[in-house]
């Protein structure tokens, strides 16, 4: 099905007695562009070494984890795994901007954000290794587990935000979804409620260009995904998702707005999925290698490292020791995961109900 306009000539000049009962515009935010030069004045946090280095460290950790997870899957030691290669900046910036009392709700690709919030590497390995205990995470206790059914967590987010608002708490629900997820009705039902109840919620659409094999332009004809927020009655903006400063600033502002009772925001972060969709996917079936290599030039980690180096905060030895540290942390976690005693067969009956009905408990013998 082609989306091209095929029409012949037809007079479409419209009478608009009032040409603008409502007007909207979508902005774009970038500080560090792909060339590493500054596109705008920097926010305060970007001048703080610790803040910036902490994010970089987590981004590198995420990438290291990622490579290990893919390797484990290839050798049959992990289930299907969704790599976040190339998207680390946006994920980490989200995690870094949030407070512990905020609640994070994501799809499956946001390892970076969860790591920053204290979820352990081992837990994430366990989840993708097929063990529910991986979702009993060490991060903030109310964060939601990875949500696999696309966009279904968006309504949870507004439910969480409703609870926060009813209690008068200055906490925020942060809901992270993909470009593909913006096609699903749940997302719109959620943003519409967020708007009408002025809920403390931030939606971050990570536009990585693909939903499995479907490219962004076949998912929607919208010029931007940020403009989806207009259907919810609130503002959206686009940011360079490979520019960690842009994402973090946008998050900081959105969180402040929500905490102040001034309602929801939507941030579209433009990035690129450098990997296959998951280890079960073969992206070469549907996208050209050239497109991908061009995107490597915008690698968010390189851009951030260059910035750190430019500020004289980071050198070769820092880099080497970080890589070594990440590698050993990841390897240790992988070993710990592989060494974990598998769940007992009966674990299926645990945590099913607060009070397991007798008739179900009697079925334990079937799995002995």
């Amino acid at each position: 099905m082609t989306a091209k306009k095929t029409g012949a000539s037809v007079d479409l000049s419209k009478v608009h007695n009032d040409p603008a009962v409502a007007t909207f515009q979508i902005g774009y935010r970038q500080y560090l562009n792909a060339e590493g030069t500054l596109a705008a004045d920097l926010p305060d946090f970007a001048t703080e070494r610790d803040t910036m280095v902490a994010m970089y460290r987590c981004a590198v950790l995420t990438r290291t984890f990622d490579a290990k997870a893919v390797a484990l899957q290839r050798t049959g030691k992990l289930g299907t795994f969704p790599s976040s290669l190339g998207q680390e900046a946006v994920s980490v910036a989200i995690g870094a901007a949030m407070s512990a009392e905020d609640v994070l709700l994501t799809t499956y690709r946001e390892q970076g954000a969860h790591f920053f919030r204290g979820v352990t590497l081992k837990e994430v390995f366990m989840f993708w290794g097929g063990d529910e205990r991986g979702c009993k995470t060490s991060g903030p206790k109310d964060d939601f587990p990875f949500s696999i059914p696309i966009a279904s967590h968006t309504t949870h987010a507004v439910g969480v935000a409703t609870a926060m608002k009813l209690r008068g708490q200055a906490h925020v629900a942060v809901c992270v979804l993909g470009d593909g997820a913006t096609s699903k009705g749940d997302f719109y039902e959620a943003i519409n409620l967020a708007g009408v109840w002025q809920l403390p919620v931030v939606f971050v659409v990570i536009n990585n260009g693909w939903a499995i094999s479907v490219p962004r332009h076949k998912q929607s004809s919208c010029e931007t995904l940020a403009q989806k927020s207009i259907a919810g009655g609130f503002e959206g903006e686009q940011v360079d998702g490979n520019d960690i400063i842009a994402v973090r600033t946008a998050m900081d502002e959105a969180l402040a707005q929500a905490r102040a009772g001034l309602g929801p925001s939507l941030i579209e972060a433009l990035t690129y999925r450098l990997s296959d969709h998951t280890t079960a996917d073969d992206a070469s079936r549907y996208r050209a290698e050239d497109d991908v290599s061009a995107r490597w030039k915008k690698d968010p980690l390189v851009r951030l490292r260059n910035y750190l180096v430019g500020q004289d905060w980071w050198g070769k030895s820092d880099e080497e020791s970080l890589l070594g540290e990440c590698k050993s942390r990841v390897n240790e976690a992988a070993d710990a995961y592989l060494d974990t005693t598998p769940q007992a067969a009966e674990a299926k009956f645990e945590s099913l109900y607060d009070d397991l009905p007798e008739v179900i408990s009697a079925q334990r013998q079937w799995v002995k």
Binding site: V103, L105, E132, R133, C135, K136, T137, K141, D142, F144, P145, S147, P149, S152, T154, T155, H156, A157, V158, G159, V160, A161, T162, A163, M164, L166, A173, G185, D186, E189, A190, N192, L193, V196, E350, S351, L352, Y353, D354, D355, P357, E358, V359, I360
Partner: protein, 326 residues
Amino acid sequence: MPEVNLVGGVTMALSRALEEDENVVVLGQDVGVNGGVFRATDGLLDLFGDKRVLDTPLAEGLISGMSVGMAAQGLRPVAEIQFMGFCYSAIDQMINHASRLRNRTRGRLTCPMVMRMPYGAGIHAPEHHSESTEALFAQIPGLRVVIPSSPGRAYGLLLAAIRDDDPVVFLEPTRLYRAYREQVDDDGKALPMDTCFVLRQGTDVTLVSWGAMIKETLECADTLALDGISAEVIDVATLKPFDAATVLKSVEKTGRCVIVQEAPLSVGFASEVAAQLAEHGLMSLLAPVRRIAAPDVIVPLAGLEQNYIPKLDRILEAAREVVAFS
């Protein structure tokens, strides 16, 4: 003691729950100033204010999904879906999230929510307002499915559902909403959600039903009594988990069983009851089990609905047949 009808029992339980636990929140379409399309939430907004009684936008998927989010935060959302015919866009959340939030997080997050909805035919309502698809929910692990069939059980079971720490689908038979009143003490006492209710003791045949069909089932027992046939009547009440033991015990005594359901025959809850008998009650059975159900057709518009709902005489005939069987 107040005299209330079934919908009154629901309102009384909601009011009590809102009062006793500040985490209880009622939400849904038109539940506020309008008091719900069946007036089940009538007066609650005035009593408890707009932070406890929330009118939502028109979106059932949202209502169930946001309830999951609220519940994970420790609230106890009691969501109303206006008619069962509109619950299908809420099913994804019930199956994929509500039912499994506790399990998939090994108890870190829980989902103490109730999804209430009117169900069943017989009130001359428009298309899609007469569904009985309780079996959809009764097969989902992690949920509880509860159906009251009297004002008192509406009160006691709804209190139990709201206090329960897991998600409950609570189906209210519209045909019984205003059918009759009975005295119900607003004593805050919940009824158990893991047991069938034996409404009438009997020795010759076991009649099993739930929801609105309890009426015809009781009438059947009355009529049989005139012929000297003693029927035991069981209201399943909680379909998930199903207390098959009570049914099996009854059939041990009577040897005969008729199951009455409003839904179409195939793959309904009656099939589960009959299956339990085929599996665990075979040696007690003195006659074939009979399922009396609607035919496997689309619920008709109002013109034919009375004739769609299983009629007393079909139940009677089946009961007489199994009693006569030898």
